[in-house]
Symmetry: C2
Subunit: 430 residues, 2 copies
């Protein structure tokens, strides 16, 4: 298609004959005139036709339209096309079961997901994944700029690593294998070669969650970084990464943010940070809520920590640090001042955990001792331990959920809205 233009270019072509292509998003008649709304990959365009020229056009058809660009303040983007010719290149075989042309797509979550091949075509749904795409782009760009090498670690594992439960099992040529819950071991091993690495990839959690913020397969934005002095270095770096990401989204997706009434993100120069023990005390005193003793912090506690960050620090983010050692994975560095606490953090974004990170134990003997302390067998971690045997510098890193970030940013009620084709305990399709 030579000389095709996109809907966002229309305003720069006033007076010219243009060719535009996309999907018939909506149609309405006003007097003898047909208003056709066309959706292309970047947005919507209004085309005005004499009724005769439109013929039997169906909503949802894919068309090529030529006509003359005209200024029109009431049209999307401030311009419209006086349609001259229309060619249908493909059309739906049935009427669409959901009307996509309405401003809001008023369907419940089950319908939204069951009809994903269709509902993804709604402007508001598409908007979510445009933001998501910007997140992927921005994360890669800033990590590379910071000297991190991009890696791709295997998702099929011979051993259920990290000593955890909740792994999906695979039949691997007759042998039992596991789906990776995180790239944890591999990114640490890679610190030995590249010093700083990042990965964007799927992780799989066989957890029977039925909440609005969990899915069983998601994209994890991971990083691991050598030569740190403590977890504080990670928190500083992560703050810069987030600042870059949100600025980029603001810049590229202002329309999409607007369509969700997404409030501007405020990241203060330094994100407030509190030890877990401190924030528990604050939450009790300020909000009269006692975090259950058997958890490190529960969702209600996180929500109140988020509220506190907003009220006290005007921040959408708050770091919680020094989680108890027995509630963090065995590889987490204990604080030398009080080894019952760890040199790690969670980052709470608008009241929900977004990132988990920590300094790791890098000393071989200390790590082996800690594995035993967790009642695990060092033999089950032999290739992981090799990297430490050959020497690793002090290091640490984080994992951040891409869907969680988009959900919180846009204020989506359920994280499944932020996954193209989400997987939950019951959903394997589409």
């Amino acid at each position: 298609m030579q000389n095709r233009i996109y809907s966002n270019e229309l305003k720069t072509k006033i007076g010219q004959t243009v060719l535009i292509a996309g999907r018939v998003y909506g149609m309405r008649k006003l007097g003898g005139i047909n208003f056709l709304i066309l959706q292309d990959s970047v947005g919507l365009a209004q085309i005005v036709f004499d009724a005769a020229k439109i013929g039997e056009l169906k909503i949802g058809s894919w068309v090529k339209i030529s006509g003359i660009a005209k200024e029109e303040k009431r049209a999307p983007g401030g311009a419209e096309i006086q349609g001259e010719e229309i060619e249908t290149v493909s059309e739906p075989v049935e009427d669409l079961p959901i009307d996509l042309s309405k401003k809001g797509l008023n369907v419940n979550l089950t319908t939204l997901l069951n009809y994903r091949p269709l509902t993804l075509r709604h402007e508001n749904v598409r908007a979510i994944f445009k933001v998501y795409a910007t997140l992927l782009e921005a994360y890669g760009e800033i990590m590379r700029r910071f000297g991190f090498t991009e890696i791709k670690s295997p998702k099929i594992l011979g051993e259920a690593s990290e000593g955890g439960a909740n792994f999906f099992t695979i039949n691997y040529f007759g042998k039992k294998a596991f789906l990776a819950q995180s790239p944890q071991f591999y990114k640490q091993i890679c610190v030995g070669a590249f010093e700083r690495v990042f990965e964007i990839g799927p992780v799989f959690r066989a957890e029977k969650h039925f909440t609005s913020r969990h899915i069983n397969e998601y994209i994890s934005l991971d990083a691991e970084m050598g030569f740190i002095d403590s977890h504080e270095d990670l928190m500083v770096k992560l703050t810069e990464v987030l600042r870059f990401i949100f600025e980029r989204i603001q810049e590229k997706n202002s329309e999409e943010l607007k369509s969700y009434n997404a409030q501007a993100i405020t990241i203060p120069p330094e994100i407030p940070k509190y030890k877990l023990a401190e924030i528990k005390k604050i939450i009790k005193e300020k909000y009269h809520y006692e975090i259950p003793a058997e958890t490190d912090i529960d969702p209600k506690g996180e929500a109140l920590a988020g509220r506190f960050a907003k009220e006290e620090h005007k921040s959408d983010f708050i770091f919680l640090t020094h989680y108890p050692s027995n509630m963090r994975p065995f590889y987490t560095m204990p604080d030398e001042k009080d080894p019952s606490e760890t040199k790690g953090f969670d980052l709470i974004f608008r009241g929900t955990e977004l990132v988990t990170g920590s300094q790791r134990i890098h000393n071989y003997k200390q790590l082996v001792a800690n594995i035993k302390k967790f009642r695990l067998n060092p033999k089950d971690f032999s290739f992981y331990l090799e990297a430490f045997k050959y020497g690793l510098p002090p290091h640490g890193g984080w994992g951040m959920g891409a869907e969680r970030l988009v959900q919180q940013l846009l204020g989506l009620a359920n994280i499944k809205e932020a996954a193209l084709f989400p997987r939950d305990v019951k959903r394997l399709e589409p």
Copy 2:
């Protein structure tokens, strides 16, 4: 570490006191002087020390070194450091079983992979993954520039899609599920929403290969594009994508290419293209080799097609088009001139298949008919077919193996060398 510099900055700091950090890559004594080679994330640096200052330093230790930068033509990068202070931050607990300081890492493939946490630290091995990282970066950048939206499709599937065998099965909360062989269905569905999409993600093939060019988990660089006239549009676009990628690698990784004596890539303005039937004839006449009738083309045939491209067209690439319809997946568009042939292609890179692509059937009725022709049941493809029911424009796309590209570019004997932690029929670790 404030004021730290990296090895590639040394030459710009002549006469200054610098701080450098990394791993002790090698050491040698000459007279009373110790030459220490330090590896950091970007390369190597030479540091000269009085013997007394070095002490009990071990190969493989992680150190911070301060000293004065000096010009020295014989050192890597044309500069070295007159070492003043050295601080060991971490050290190996045993002597390394493989000497990494030699120029070539002379180990067999099994040893290379068994000792991956160590061998990855060799300069030549690292080089492979620096090229790999550039490939990931460049692919994303050029696809975005061409208006493609990045997607992340699910890797856990409820149905073994594409009607094929060779799926790994998963126990998904007691239900049988499958690992995705490709994002095929999802990227096609997404054309309906975004028109152009790309994905960088793992794919899983339960094929019992024992060849030098197959692994069971690899990274696929996928694309799908709406409003094409035929597969020719895809071939043109792909050529531009490859040109960009190889230029970027040439620019960022000239050292790495040199260390593998990688010959410069030649992409002619138009990559030569031949119908499969034509190339078979040419190979028979020119090289006296008859491609077995039961295959479309065998590896030896691909190698000879590559040789022909080089000899006849001075091209490292050749497109083979019009594979037989019964040897391509059911969604492949048949050629309207001869429906026994398809509107698709393989791209052969230096004698090995690198990319497979095609125009897809976009008409619902034609697709359903073709599914039946392949003796498959349309009911097994219900959500995929929905996208067609609601209308899809003419479209097509490709899948390209990242490890295969790096293997062929660097001339690696085995594709497993181009995967950080490869998975094959027998290997699930490290």
